[in-house]
């Protein structure tokens, strides 16, 4: 009992944010429910991003109804690799990643050969809402397949590593590199067993890692140290994340981005309830950082002044640089 109280005190002293505080003080306070569709529907996010000139994986087409499925041929025509995903899917379910064509059939990233009919069946499943959050009807999205930058080869197992930055009122507050592992099945979700690696906001150099709530220093599959890696295009990542505030209007989001070999930093999706394990990866609490941003925004509001994404990134890098 006293041990628990001691733990409580120490976590509080470190400024670790709990679920209750995140929900009450940030998610409920800054994220208007009416704006949720923008982040829940990947097609809407993409449209908004394009309208704001933000880099996203190119969209090849949308299939909205069973009748549209016949258009699939036309959309896929001349494309060797692509991704089909449900617009409102969660946890990476229902996504097919096609890497190549093979004798009139398709080859997935894992090497499985599937026919066009099977792809149509999968699209039909997506439309009926098999993978959508609420179980309602959904739309299928066909888009560009991201090929991860080779920089991550040594510290990643299959899949595409992504970068998550928590953005509060347009100011990046914490960042993390998410590396798929054998256990996570190539997915970059922490609760499925992916590794989270903290990133210094100022420099883009990786810090320590977290894996299943523990601190780690090496990737379990490649045994390479995860710390000390310089992420390329870091400044672009930061500005991309900061500009998502204008894009969706939500005040507290997790921005998931990837680094494409050819197209550079791209936004994958936004999350209105980003997880809290990012704190373990950075060995730092979110609460003091969030308070610093909130008081900064309050003083700006008094002066009736707003900052551009670049200014916000500069402030965040100055405030939250790793010591």
């Amino acid at each position: 009992m006293f041990g628990l109280i001691k733990t409580w005190r120490e976590l509080e002293a470190k400024g670790i944010m709990g679920i209750n505080r995140r929900n009450a003080d940030y998610v409920l306070k800054y994220n208007k429910r009416s704006l949720y569709p923008v982040v829940d529907d990947k097609i809407l996010t993409k449209e908004r991003a394009l309208a704001n000139g933000i880099n996203v994986p190119e969209m090849y087409g949308i299939i909205e109804s069973e009748r549209d499925i016949s258009k699939l041929h036309k959309i896929l025509d001349g494309r060797n690799d692509f991704v089909i995903k449900p617009a409102q899917g969660a946890g990476g379910d229902g996504i097919i990643v096609i890497a190549d064509r093979f004798e009139g059939r398709y080859k997935t990233v894992s090497g499985k050969i599937i026919s066009h009919d099977e792809i149509e069946y999968q699209v039909s499943n997506i439309l009926t809402g098999l993978y959508s959050l609420g179980g309602g009807r959904d739309r299928a999205l066909i888009e560009y397949r991201v090929s991860p930058d080779p920089i991550f080869k040594s510290i990643s197992y299959e899949g595409v590593p992504d970068i998550r930055i928590i953005v509060l009122m347009g100011y990046p507050v914490m960042a993390m590199l998410r590396l798929p592992t054998r256990q996570s099945g190539g997915k970059a979700n922490l609760h499925q067993g992916a590794i989270g690696v903290g990133v210094d906001l100022a420099t883009g150099i990786t810090l320590q890692g977290t894996w299943l709530n523990n601190k780690i220093s090496k990737h379990p599959d490649t045994t390479q140290p995860v710390a000390g890696v310089q992420l390329p295009y870091w400044q672009q990542f930061m500005e991309l994340a900061a500009s998502c505030y204008e894009l969706c209007g939500l005040g507290y989001i997790g921005v998931d981005m990837v680094l494409d070999q050819e197209k550079g930093p791209l936004i994958l999706e936004l999350n209105a309830r980003p997880g809290l394990n990012i704190q373990i990866a950075n060995n730092a609490g979110l609460t003091p950082r969030a308070h610093a941003i909130e008081s900064h925004v309050a003083t700006l509001a008094k002066e009736n002044h707003t900052e551009t994404p670049a200014e916000r990134v500069a402030l965040a890098q100055q405030l939250f640089a790793a010591k």
């Binding site: 120490e10 709990g18 679920i19 209750n20 946890g91 379910d93 098999l130 499925q192």
Partner: protein, 509 residues
């Protein structure tokens, strides 16, 4: 944001204080019992009147019966007599019953029965009475003795209260010649009351005789004589024998004044015997019985007790749902327990009412396990959601029917109770559990299932505490207090218990 917090605080304070006030008012002002087991004594008083009718003249018997009103509530009053007309009339502060018959012969027996209780008595009216009166006529030796008695009483008293008790003391003093002379060798309470009356009348202090009955189980009780006097504010009661002041709580005033208990015409050898019995009655039932006079019963009319009995039973279940919800709220937001959905555990807890806890858990696990295996088989068929759910639901129904049939054949009647086990809840549980299984893995699914069962068990346990059920049902103000707590939880920012373990990595520096 600040103003929102203030708003919330005011709202919480208002709800909690309203709820507490309502409950306190019910308990302390309306005297609504706090537990169901609280019982009250119900007094059964029988007065049996026997006499010999002369046979050649009309019979008329007049008897005083308790005026009631003050601290007692009469639940039932009955007059049992054959061939007699009965009428009850009020005379000043008394009530008198009159039995009359044209012609009757032989031994006559009449009964008067009343059932009364102390709880839920009506509010007392403002007392009033005479403060002055004329002296009784008295002559010669007795006058001198009375005046001689009066002189030291005057000296030793300050007001009516002390005057009367001093008088009673002097009259009861066996060595006092004056009082001996006035009593004339008769030491009965009636005679003493007469002498006290005389002495007080010379001092112009009014006095009234009070005939009381002691509420004490037994037969053959004689009414006990007390005297009372009004001091301008309230009635002061004295025992003329002992000088004891103040009427004990177990006394029931039967009648007031100098008249005898009864008055018989056309008969002889009358005799009255009192038999007193008590029985216990559930206090809340009693409140419902006590007619409309008291405020408590009029309250009950507008509480859940005013509903028809069958509806009440439904509400007794329904009103416990917030308690179950509160349990889930605490377990999830303070404890960090993972459950399926938010209120599924409450629904499962309700289902446990039908099946009993141990059996319910067993059935729940069994059906869910079988349902999950069916669900994982259906997964291969790639069905759409609605048809898939329908298949699972039908399977659950069939499963329940089979279990009922088997347990019936095996002689386990308990198995039949699951026919009411909510099938839709089970189906949704299976569906959600299998989704959790796929998305988060078997470990998480198992943890969630155990968490759900744990929460359901705890909720069921709390919801089936009889005392709690009674309390919430009788004092719905408690629900407002609970809403206040829930509102406060809505802005709780502290850690959840599980987070203390989740973030342990921070402390290993």
């Amino acid at each position: 944001m600040r103003s929102l917090t203030l708003h919330l605080k005011i709202l919480i304070a208002a709800l909690v204080s309203l709820g507490v006030l309502m409950t306190v008012y019910q308990i302390f002002v309306l005297n609504i019992p706090v537990t169901e087991h609280e019982t009250d004594n119900l007094w059964n008083i029988d007065a049996k009147i026997e006499f010999q009718a002369s046979g050649n003249a009309p019979v008329k018997l007049q008897m005083y019966v308790p005026p009631l009103g003050d601290n007692y509530t009469s639940l039932n009053e009955s007059f049992i007599s054959k061939n007699y007309g009965v009428s009850v009339n009020r005379q000043n502060e008394n009530r008198q019953i009159t039995w009359s018959a044209r012609r009757n012969a032989g031994k006559q027996t009449l009964y008067y029965r009343m059932v009364l209780t102390t709880r839920f008595g009506a509010d007392q009216a403002k007392p009033s009475g005479p403060v002055f009166r004329e002296s009784l006529p008295v002559e010669g030796m007795e006058k001198i003795a009375a005046e001689a008695l009066l002189a030291p009483i005057r000296q030793h008293s300050a007001d009516i209260e002390t005057f009367i008790s001093e008088t009673i003391k002097r009259v009861n003093n066996k060595d006092d010649d004056n009082s001996k002379l006035l009593l004339g060798g008769n030491n009965s309470p009636e005679r003493k009351a007469d002498v006290i009356d005389l002495v007080l009348s010379i001092a112009k202090v009014p006095m009234q005789r009070v005939h009381t009955l002691r509420l004490d189980i037994g037969a053959n009780q004689e009414p006990e004589l007390w005297i009372r006097s009004f001091n301008g504010k309230k009635w002061l009661y004295f025992n003329p024998q002992t000088g004891q002041q103040g009427l004990p709580a177990d006394r029931l005033i039967w009648w007031l004044g100098d008249e005898p208990l009864f008055n018989l015409e056309g008969g002889s050898r009358p005799q009255v015997t009192f038999t007193i019995n008590s029985s216990e009655i559930n206090a809340i039932r009693l409140a419902q019985l006590t007619g409309s006079a008291s405020s408590a019963t009029s309250f009950l009319d507008y509480s859940l007790y005013g509903l028809p009995l069958s509806t009440q039973q439904t509400y007794q279940v329904m009103i416990m749902i917030p308690i179950g919800v509160l349990v889930i709220l605490i377990l999830r937001n303070l404890g960090g327990l993972q459950t399926l959905g938010t209120f599924t555990p409450v629904l499962i807890a309700l289902a446990f009412r039908e099946t009993q806890l141990g059996f319910g858990i067993l059935l729940f696990s069994l059906i869910t396990a079988l349902g999950l295996s069916l669900r994982s088989y259906l997964e291969h068929l790639k069905l759409q959601m609605l048809p898939r759910l329908s298949v699972v639901l039908t399977f659950v129904v069939v499963l329940i029917a089979v279990i009922s049939l088997f347990s019936h054949k095996l002689g386990l009647e308990r198995g039949l109770s699951i026919s009411l086990f909510p099938m839709v809840i089970l189906t949704m549980t299976i569906e959600r559990l299998s989704i959790t299984w796929e998305e988060r893995g078997g470990n998480t699914a198992f943890k969630v299932a155990v968490g759900t069962l744990f929460a359901a068990t705890l909720a069921h346990y709390l919801m089936s505490i009889q005392e709690l059920n009674y309390f919430v049902f009788t004092f719905p103000g408690v629900l407002l207090v609970m809403v206040g707590f829930m509102l406060a939880m809505g802005r709780y920012r502290g850690y959840r218990l599980t987070e203390l373990f989740r973030f342990k990595a921070f402390l290993k520096d």
